[in-house]
Structures are given as structure tokens and as C-alpha cells.
Point group: none
Chain length 87, copies 4
């Protein structure tokens, strides 16, 4: 099961190999970050903080930021529309 089926062109094989490699690298970095986050929460817990609550706070912050970004985008859209009306 490990031999490459040579019905695929070399180009395709190379491309696949490259793609898989790059994704693996990205996911490895993501794993590292997950470890980091876990450590932060562990640290918080050791400090006497409730991780569960902290997660909620973080989630809320993220939602707020997303909302701001969305409003920003909407604003841009309005501006573009107004500018379009002028022309």
C-alpha cells in the first residue's frame, strides 16, 4: 500500500506530496498553539481562576471583535455604495 500508483503523473505526485507536507506543517503549528493555550489555562487554574469562566470570557471577547469587524465591513460597504451613487 505504500508504493505510489504510477498512473498519476509526476506533476500530480509532486503536487500532492507538497500539499500534504505543507498542511502537516501548518497543523503542527496549530498543535503547538493548542499546547500553549492549554498551558495558559493551566496557569490560570493554578492561580485560582476558573478556566470554564475564562473560556466564556474569551469567547465573548472574540464574538465582540468579530462583530466589530463585521460592522467595519458593513461601513465600508455603505461608503462604497455612497461613493458609487456620486459617479
Amino acid at each position: 500500500m505504500d508504493e505510489a500508483p504510477d498512473m498519476l503523473g509526476h506533476n500530480a505526485q509532486t503536487a500532492i506530496k507538497g500539499i500534504v507536507e505543507r498542511v502537516l506543517n501548518v497543523e503542527a503549528e496549530m498543535d503547538d498553539l493548542k499546547v500553549d493555550r492549554k498551558e495558559i489555562y493551566a496557569e490560570a487554574k493554578a492561580f485560582g481562576l476558573d478556566a470554564k469562566i475564562l473560556r466564556k470570557v474569551v469567547a465573548r471577547e472574540r464574538a465582540d471583535k468579530a462583530k466589530l469587524a463585521e460592522e467595519e465591513a458593513l461601513l465600508d460597504l455603505y461608503i462604497a455604495a455612497m461613493l458609487g451613487l456620486k459617479s
Copy 2:
């Protein structure tokens, strides 16, 4: 949960703020990586590759690597068990 929010000491407040900030930073990096990965798959698709299969391949690679790590752990466990038999 039994005390009002504003009864938290300054230390706690500072700690919470710091924790949340750090987690937000880490998660922002994770979001970037997710974007990267998505772009890689999009690129692959544009190249004519099947993203679904690529995901499977990546998953298998990761599983293989995880399995290796697990073998290590199991081996350690065996060793510990054998040493335990001696005592």
C-alpha cells in the same frame, strides 16, 4: 461565583486580563493558520486535486505519527509494569 464581580482584588483582575489577552493572541494565530490551511486546500483544488482525499491522506499521516508516539508510551508502560513486578 458567590461574590460580586467588583469584589475581585486588583491582582485577580490583572491576572484575568492578562490571561484573556494571551489566549486571544494565541487563538488569533490559530485563526491565521486555519486560513493558511484553507488556502492550501483551495490551491490544491485549483490544481485539480480532490481536497476530500487529501484530507484523508493528511489525517492518515498524522495518525501514523501519533501512533509512533503511542508506541513509545506503551513501551514505557510495559517497562514500568515489569519493574513493578520485581518489587
Copy 3:
């Protein structure tokens, strides 16, 4: 969620009652099996075996079996992809 509980028709009430009853029965059986499993491990421990390792062995067996099923699925995927290339 927008209507008061007692506005449910009799059909719905009967259905809910039946569903819940059946799930409870199934989960009761699952609880029994959990007890069985626990007893088996207790027995093994009494025999001088390390339950922790036994769990690992069981997990590995299950993973192996799952892997076989996954191979099938992956193969199907490959076949589908190849057939797709024809069209």
C-alpha cells in the same frame, strides 16, 4: 420553544413519552454493560494483571478493527475519485 408545554398535541406528547422511555431503556442496558466491564477489570486485577495496560490493549484492538473499516472507506473513496476522473 415558542409555545407553552401544554400546547403540545396528544400525539406529540405520546411520541415524546415513548422516545424518552426507549432511550432510558437503552441507557439502562448500557449501564449494565459498564458494570460488567468494570467487574471484568476487577477480576483481572485480582488475578494480578495490570488494568491500565489491559485497557491499552483493548483500545489497540478496537483501533485496529476501526482501521480496517477505514481502509475500506478510503478504498471506496479512491475508486470514486478514479471513476470521477473518467467523466
Copy 4:
């Protein structure tokens, strides 16, 4: 990695094999039950019921039953204690 380490006695090997086999059987039955439960919820959904709410109902029922059993046990304890006082 598949050859049995013959440092284990035949008794132990047989015992391990039997234990693992029995646990696997029990877990296979548990898997079947999980499938059953999933099907019941799917059926409920097809009937127009909200699976999430149903899960909460089931959980509450289970908690109630557990509480009853606990009270029952406590009652038995009291009875035993009273009988003990007589003797």
C-alpha cells in the same frame, strides 16, 4: 510486535487473552446500543422533535431515578440502623 513475549506464563497469557476478549465483546454490545440510541433520536427528529431537548429530558429522568435509588438506599440504611439498635 505481534509475537507473544514468552516470559509471561501460559496462565497469564490465557487469562489476558480471555479478559481482552470479554471486554471487547462487552464494548461491542455497547456500540450496538449507541447505534440504537442514535437511531431513536433520528426517528424523533424525523417526527419533528428537538433531539437536544429530548436529551435534556432523558438526563433529568435519569437524575431523578438515581435520586430515588439513593433515597431508597438511605432508607435501607436507616432501617438497618434501627434494627441494629434493637438487638
